[in-house]
């Protein structure tokens, strides 16, 4: 996180909409990527990622240390995405699995590496997807533990299980494709 971002957050906290626009510009991929990795659905992810920024805007005045902004924003993003999954499950209006990137076997065989990975991520549990995307976003194990409110040992084991699972899935898919 650079000094420019810290200044932007300080200005936005004082009510500058221009500063917040710049923050959205700088962090939109970070938030969208996080939410998409958890939800595995592009349309829902766009809506939820927007909601994340609205929540951040409303709560920004309460952020004490501007330097903790990335982990604070990641926390909002993961919670909002997980809450969205829970509320969908409660309402049972749409089956999450039907919208995942998981595709049938025929399409599967023609998929490229990117789709392989998206498919593989779709096979992971939510908690494994969350730790994986937080790690990809550059947080260390301790920060992930703080964001999710879980012990660092749990982070380590979840990341390991997720990575082993991904390795296996990608190997299987490459085997199928080959």
């Amino acid at each position: 996180m650079n000094q420019n971002d810290i200044d932007l957050i300080r200005h936005a906290r004082k009510g500058s909409t221009e500063a917040f626009t710049a923050i959205v510009r700088n962090y939109k991929n970070f938030v969208y990527r996080t939410v998409l990795a958890i939800l595995q659905n592009r349309q829902d992810s766009e809506d939820v990622a927007q909601e994340v920024f609205i929540k951040a805007y409303r709560a920004l005045a309460g952020l004490r240390d501007a330097r903790t902004f990335p982990s604070w924003l990641a926390q909002i993003a993961t919670r909002t995405a997980l809450d969205f999954i829970q509320s969908k499950r409660k309402n049972q209006t749409v089956e999450l699995d039907s919208e995942k990137f998981v595709v049938n076997d025929d399409i599967h065989r023609a998929a490229n590496i990117r789709l392989d990975l998206e498919n593989a991520l779709g096979h992971l549990s939510e908690e494994h997807r969350v730790v994986t995307i937080l790690r990809v976003n550059g947080f260390d194990y301790e920060e992930i533990a703080q964001i999710l409110g879980i012990p660092i040992g749990t982070v380590r084991s979840r990341l390991h299980n997720a990575r082993m699972h991904l390795r296996q899935l990608l190997q299987d898919e490459r085997g199928d494709n080959g």
Partner: protein
């Protein structure tokens, strides 16, 4: 340490997130275990692929505009709420202050002053009539009209200047 025990730490090893003593133990094991070496290599490849592919994900093109439109709505709501609270607080303070002043000993003094002011006005109104100088009343009324229209004109000019600055 056995392979099973070591493998639990291999992802953290690949992520360079192990404490120094555990890292040393893992490296010591890796030097003599080809299976674990192969697993480390696979985990490194998987990690690189995951990082590379996920980092390519970008938000939709109009995402920023959509967010800022919603933020504008939130900002307006917030402003309206702030002003409403401000006006309500001012009104309450004003009413409360006025009531407090009227009920206090100062209020009695103000009431006496008000009655005195009315009596003076009443007395002054009889002066021109008793002297038979109606022209004084005419001049007084003209002056009041002139002062009033001047204030109105100046305020209009100031308002138009203000709107030009905003534009």
């Amino acid at each position: 340490m056995s392979c099973h025990e070591i493998q639990m730490y291999l992802t953290a090893y690949v992520d360079d997130a192990l404490e120094i003593d555990k890292r040393n133990r893992v490296e010591q094991h890796l030097r003599q275990c080809y299976d674990c070496q192969a697993l480390v290599k696979e985990l490194q490849q998987t990690t690189a692929l995951v990082f590379e592919q996920l980092n390519r994900t970008v938000a939709p093109i109009n995402f920023e505009d959509s967010v800022m439109q919603q933020i504008a709505g939130v900002y307006q709501e917030r402003q309206v709420r702030r002003f409403s609270i401000f006006y309500l607080a001012c009104a309450l303070i004003g009413i409360g202050g006025f009531a407090a002043v009227l009920l206090s000993p100062v209020g009695t003094f103000i009431r006496v002053l008000f009655h005195l002011f009315l009596a003076v006005l009443n007395g002054l109104s009889f002066v021109p009539a008793s002297l038979g100088h109606w022209w004084m009343v005419c001049i007084l009324l003209s002056t009041i009209v002139l002062v009033g229209s001047s204030i109105f004109g100046v305020s209009r000019v100031l308002r138009s200047l203000q709107s030009e600055v905003v534009l």
